[in-house]
Symmetry: C2
Subunit: 338 residues, 2 copies
């Protein structure tokens, strides 16, 4: 089948690889209907993570079940399914508490920028749709499998509740989906930090009420000005750098939380900053599975359209162009058609 | 009047100083009925904070109002009052949100290890009792003015709720009051990290169900073992060192919060640790004023007895011995009688 392999920083290739097979009796094999490139795929692509061996890329998917292992009970061939980038049993104490990304039997999902993929712990990981979805819903369902679920978690961990002023740090696909989440969860005002006109525009269409172009202390000052000197009541940190974290912390009002979903790269948070601001921090790899049924429902009823973050669609064979476009920030997020 | 002045690390003196006077029309002057030494007083006493000039010590108090400024409306001479170490107007947006320690007009209270003290913003800061309290309640009311309110905030910020397993890091007066708070807020199991037999005993009497003597990774391992491998559901960090913070973070279950109330001294929190553990952090100088009416009520009805953290009582004139005893950990907390 056709798959995607990263060999070295900047060297990602579409090539013919072995078909995935059932390895454990809890596995499923899916035929991918749509896949995409994630912002986090850019870390190894840019050389920020060490690459020990060639890496089968891709962890976002909408698929049709081809085959299931002998222990799979709830998922069956022919179903349209969506899952998250972490496979989880959905029954352990962490899963039951809503932290499926910390499942005691957590497994990574990989190799989904391909025609077929193996999904571990299919019963716990996959959510099946009742019917084949309309083609126009596919991008939004695909977004639910990662960026929407991640933005949603940023909003939940950031404590968005009705009437709050939410601040979204980051205008990537996750930040933009965070705007959707903040709006759906009832934020009255949604401030987005962005310098990119196209992303600003999409943020506004998703529900942003204010755009802040300034960064660092200047950006913090503008957010404070917008909030009567007090700060934002909920902050979504969707970048993961030291600068974005400081900006997030200093922009929150006392008692606000910062939901962190941008994978931190070398970020140290000053205890003194945390203490003096009374702003809290919580996050991690999003437990997308917790939110998936609700998110799928919001997509299928047409309430939200997160698929609009895909501004580039390419055949799977042209995956390297997708990486390039995202790396150069010419594209927010690229959808791949197998 | 007799007051307490810190001249240099280790050099704290009881001496005759000028009586406090009304400086602002919102001030009150109180006669202190009981005062005490705070764990945070030990930071400058030990030389951990720079001392630019001699410092009038003390910020915990139960007093009787002597005189009020012309703008004070709700507080009047003769009332027994309790307040926090931060004076607050109790009307600004931060106060209304329950963060009086981040009041936009916040003032420090100081010089309470003395016969009289000036309390700024009396209307917002002080809570008056209906009647003169029984002498036996005074230590517990005094505890409410700081250590109990601080331990309570650690429990609230740490997310203690009915049924949870709470972990208390720190066996000082704040940690011990954190045990009281965790119990009152419904924790089913309360694990306390302590190596001191007397403090362990008091912790148990306050409601601790398990004591962990190990520290660092060994301590984390024991907490995990006690919680079925998952971690504590709520963590109270009542120390403020890098080691205690790491221990707190690594002992929480995914989704748990660490309430931090120990003033961080040079603590950096690894973004990677936060991210991988799914454990959140929130805290700061406790908004004691938020909790005071409730805490006073619990004390006056005899429901809780936090005054038991005072294991040394001295006349105000012997304050230097109080500092010494606490510095050498011979005393948990020393009460001063003017």
């Amino acid at each position: 089948m056709r798959g995607t392999v990263l060999y070295a920083p900047g060297d990602v290739r579409s090539e013919i690889v072995a078909d995935p097979t059932l390895k454990e009796p809890t596995d499923a094999i899916i035929r991918t209907v749509v896949a995409c490139v994630c912002g986090s795929d850019l870390w190894p692509y840019r050389g920020a993570n060490e690459l020990k061996r060639p890496m089968a890329m891709g962890h976002e998917y909408v698929g049709v079940v081809e085959e299931v292992g002998s222990d799979v009970r709830g998922i069956r061939p022919g179903q349209y399914v969506i899952g998250s980038f972490f496979a989880s049993d959905n029954t352990c104490p962490n899963c039951v508490a809503g932290y499926q990304s910390a499942c005691v039997n957590v497994r990574s999902v990989y190799g989904c920028q391909a025609e077929f993929a193996r999904i571990p712990q299919a019963d716990g990981t996959l959510v099946a749709l009742a019917d084949a979805p309309d083609a126009e819903r596919l991008p939004s369902l695909l977004a639910a499998s990662d960026v929407l679920g991640t933005g949603w978690y940023a909003a939940v961990a950031g404590g968005v509740e009705p009437g709050v002023t939410a601040l979204v740090v980051g205008d990537g696909a996750v930040g933009l989906c965070g705007v959707i989440a903040a709006k759906e969860l009832g934020a009255e005002r949604i401030v987005v930090m962005s310098r990119n006109p196209a992303r600003q525009q999409l943020a506004r269409e998703f529900g942003a009420t204010d755009i802040v172009e300034e960064r660092g202390d200047d950006g913090v000052a503008v957010v404070r000005e917008l909030t009567g000197g007090i700060g934002a009541g909920a902050v979504l940190e969707c970048v993961g750098t030291g600068e974005s974290m400081r900006q997030a912390l200093h922009s929150g009002r006392p008692g606000a939380m910062v939901g962190i979903v941008g994978v931190p790269h070398g970020v140290e948070i000053s205890g003194d900053d945390l203490f003096r601001t009374h702003v809290g921090v919580q996050g991690g790899p999003a437990p997308v599975r917790r939110f998936l049924p609700d998110l799928i429902d919001r997509v299928l009823t047409g309430r939200i359209d997160p698929g609009r973050v895909f501004d580039l669609t390419l055949p799977l064979a042209e995956v390297s162009q997708a990486y390039q476009a995202m790396d150069e920030r010419r594209s927010i997020k690229a959808l791949l058609q197998p």
